[in-house]
């Protein structure tokens, strides 16, 4: 299902696009776990709702909205979904 595109950092996802979480990378087990319990687990579907001044992103996951700082968003790798899968 992830064949059509390679994972890229969440910060690079365009606003309004959906993607699936591939991995949360980087040091700091506490951060990885916090993101995990908030639903950012491999395979989870998220949508980038907006970008704030200076880098934070606003994402929607499982019907909840999360604000993530730029440093955090850079560590989340996502696989963008193609336009077709969005309309399904």
């Amino acid at each position: 299902m992830f064949l059509n595109s390679a994972p890229k950092p969440l910060v690079e996802l365009p606003v309004g696009h959906t993607a699936r979480v591939a991995a949360v990378t980087g040091p700091g087990r506490a951060v990885r776990l916090r993101l995990r319990v908030l639903g950012l687990r491999p395979g989870a579907r998220l949508k980038l709702l907006g970008r704030g001044p200076g880098g934070p992103v606003l994402v929607e996951i499982d019907g909840c909205r999360l604000a993530l700082g730029q440093g955090v968003a850079r560590r989340i790798l996502v696989v963008p979904e193609t336009e077709e899968s969005e309309t399904q």
Partner: protein
């Protein structure tokens, strides 16, 4: 019987707590409002019950100090019953905590709160099916409007110990292999065998060899989180029907309020309105009250006469009147407006908007929440730093929150600078204060380099505040003033009057001269500033008594009024703040804060004097 309210942040535990035991807890619309354990008593279905409101936790694997407080309570004090409060609109995620709680072997009731919000989002839950699946009673509530409370009370009698959830074969096998090892750990012996095995798995370290091999490089805590999400998702699909969410104005609001440009404009506007409205309403009320209160005070003084007892008593009454005439007019509108901002859910949005800016200051967006709460009172602001994950961020945010003018200082800013120098000066003081806070953050970032992970913050839906919750919270905070500050004010006035009559205040004023003299303040300002350490508004209220008039313009020059306000704004935090600061960041650091704020206040006071001299 002891009942604990347990749930993920912002699921409405405090609102439910207030509905059950009466108005006791501050409830707001942002994750992390409650950072302490609150206990209340109620008679439910004729039986006396102790109800405990805990800070919200996403998982029992606690990460910030607020979460740790809740987890430690659950595991060490073992409540007799758990009310698991779930934000029904935040499913399936909220179920993951439910699954963890089901391992504890404690009778449970599940509350699906904000049921109206869930329907709005198109989530329809089959209550009977969920009861069957979880094996515990399930109740729908809308705690903010008191809906479903009677069902909840009735359900408490039906509470049952749920059977633990079943995970994947892989995990179940691991748990089986860990069972014996877990029972050997002294700190796990008190728990059900399965929970002990789960904890040992999550803690890591001393697993049997075969478990170590099977896990290989997988992080057991991540594995557990994923397994719980899998089960939570399955339960959700079984019991919920999801239809199209209604998209209304609330969903569109963030397009403007969190917009990179419009969001900033609105933020400035909102803060301006907060202070401007407080000042307009406050000065109108003060103008209405002051004349009649002053004539009352004059008449009292005449009646009580010139004897020692008479003058001391008149002083106490002056204190009482100053509390009504100067403090309350500004406090009431300010607390109402602040409560509105909190209850709508605006604070986390500000955290998002200012995240970039805060990063430049060595913090991140979440610190905005304690800082904004600082405008209300420094004590809860310092406590609110517990929602920050990083120890360094907590310390820096605590220090900065103390510099933010609290409601008591707002009384001084508006009652002195605003009233006699003009609202423009008051607003300039707020703006200048923010610059000082930013400079302080920059300085602290040099001494304590930032290493925090960055912003991770849930943004809750906007909620229309109800009259009951907003006024209730305003009253809770005002009560703090009426119950603590008022008696203190009366007592301080009484003491000051006694000192004045005996001539002792001159000694204290002399002691404070090293501060009042360089600032160009009259010696009489010394005692009020000393009392101001007890509570900041005392500085202004007692200044009136020390000078013998509430018409400060008649006794002080504009420069002196400005300098007095600036000094009061920054010098030593009040004793309540010092106490909580000592507890949260340590006494040595609190001592440093005390010295630094006094130095800062002297410096800025002198700067204000220079500025006024240059301007005139």
């Amino acid at each position: 019987m002891r009942v604990a309210l347990v749930g993920q942040p912002n699921s409405g535990k405090s609102t439910l707590f207030n509905a059950l035991v009466g108005l006791r807890a501050v409830a707001s619309n942002f994750p992390g409002t409650t950072v302490e354990i609150l206990r209340g008593r109620a008679a439910l279905a004729g039986k006396p019950v102790e109800i405990v409101d805990l800070p919200g936790i996403y998982s029992l694997a606690a990460q910030d100090p607020a979460e740790r407080v809740a987890r430690d309570f659950l595991l060490s004090e073992k409540p007799d019953l758990i009310i698991n409060v779930i934000d029904a609109s935040a499913l399936p995620r909220s179920f993951t905590l439910t699954l963890e709680l089901m391992e504890l072997g404690i009778p449970m009731v599940v509350v699906l709160n904000m049921a109206d919000e869930a329907e709005h989002k198109g989530i329809h839950i089959d209550k009977d099916k969920l009861e069957q699946t979880l094996g515990v009673p399930v109740v729908f509530t809308v705690a903010s409007r008191g809906i479903g409370l009677r069902d909840l009370i009735a359900a408490l009698a039906q509470a049952r110990v749920p059977s633990p959830p079943r995970y994947s074969e892989f995990l179940e096998e691991l748990l089986g292999k860990l069972g014996a090892a877990a029972q050997e750990k002294p700190h796990l012996r008190a728990f059900p065998a399965r929970y002990a095995a789960l904890t040992l798995l999550a803690e890591g370290g001393t697993w049997p060899e075969e478990v170590r091999e099977e896990l290989a490089s997988r992080d057991p805590a991540e594995l557990l989180a994923d397994e719980r999400f899998a089960v939570a998702g399955r339960i959700f699909r079984e019991v919920a029907q999801v239809t199209r969410a209604r998209v209304g104005i609330r969903e569109r609001l963030d397009d403007v309020l969190m917009h990179p440009l419009l969001g900033y404009l609105f933020l400035v506007l909102a803060l301006f309105l907060l202070f401007f409205l407080t000042f307009r309403v406050g000065s109108a009320l003060e103008g209405l009250l002051m004349p009649s209160l002053e004539s009352l005070a004059t008449r009292w003084a005449e009646v009580l006469g010139e004897s020692l007892a008479g003058r001391v008593l008149a002083g106490a009454l002056d204190g009482l009147l100053a509390g009504i005439g100067i403090a309350l007019p500004y406090l009431v509108p300010f607390f109402v407006l602040l409560a509105l901002l909190e209850d709508v859910g605006y604070l986390p949005r500000v955290g998002f908007l200012l995240d970039g800016l805060m990063h430049r200051l060595g913090l991140h967006g979440k610190s905005v929440i304690p800082l904004l709460l600082g405008y209300g009172c420094s004590v809860p602001a310092v406590l609110a730093t517990r929602i920050l994950e990083d120890e360094r961020d907590r310390f820096v945010s605590s220090v900065l929150a103390v510099l933010i003018p609290c409601a008591a200082r707002t009384v001084v800013i508006f009652g002195l600078a605003g009233r006699f120098l003009g609202p423009g000066v008051a607003l300039a003081l707020y703006a200048g204060n923010l610059l000082v806070v930013a400079a302080g953050a920059t300085l602290l970032a040099r001494v304590f380099p930032a290493a925090g992970p960055g912003l991770i913050l849930e943004i809750p839906p906007y909620r229309l505040p109800t009259l009951r919750t907003t006024l209730g919270k305003t009253w809770l905070r005002l009560r703090g003033f009426v119950k603590v500050a008022w008696p203190l004010l009366v007592l301080s006035s009484l003491v000051l009057a006694l000192f004045q009559t005996l001539g002792w205040e001159r000694v204290l004023n002399l002691l404070a001269r090293p501060i009042t003299w360089p600032l160009g303040l009259p010696p009489e300002a010394g005692v009020p500033l000393l009392f101001g350490i007890l509570r900041k508004e005392l500085a202004l209220l007692l200044l009136g008594q020390a000078l013998g008039t509430e018409d400060f313009a008649a006794a002080l020059t504009p420069t002196q009024m400005l300098v007095f306000t600036v000094f009061t704004l920054f010098y030593i935090p009040c004793v309540a703040t010092l106490a909580v600061l000592g507890r949260e960041v340590g006494w040595r650091r609190t001592g440093l804060v005390l010295l630094a704020t006094t130095g800062l206040a002297l410096l800025l006071g002198a700067f204000a004097r220079l500025l006024a001299w240059a301007a005139l």
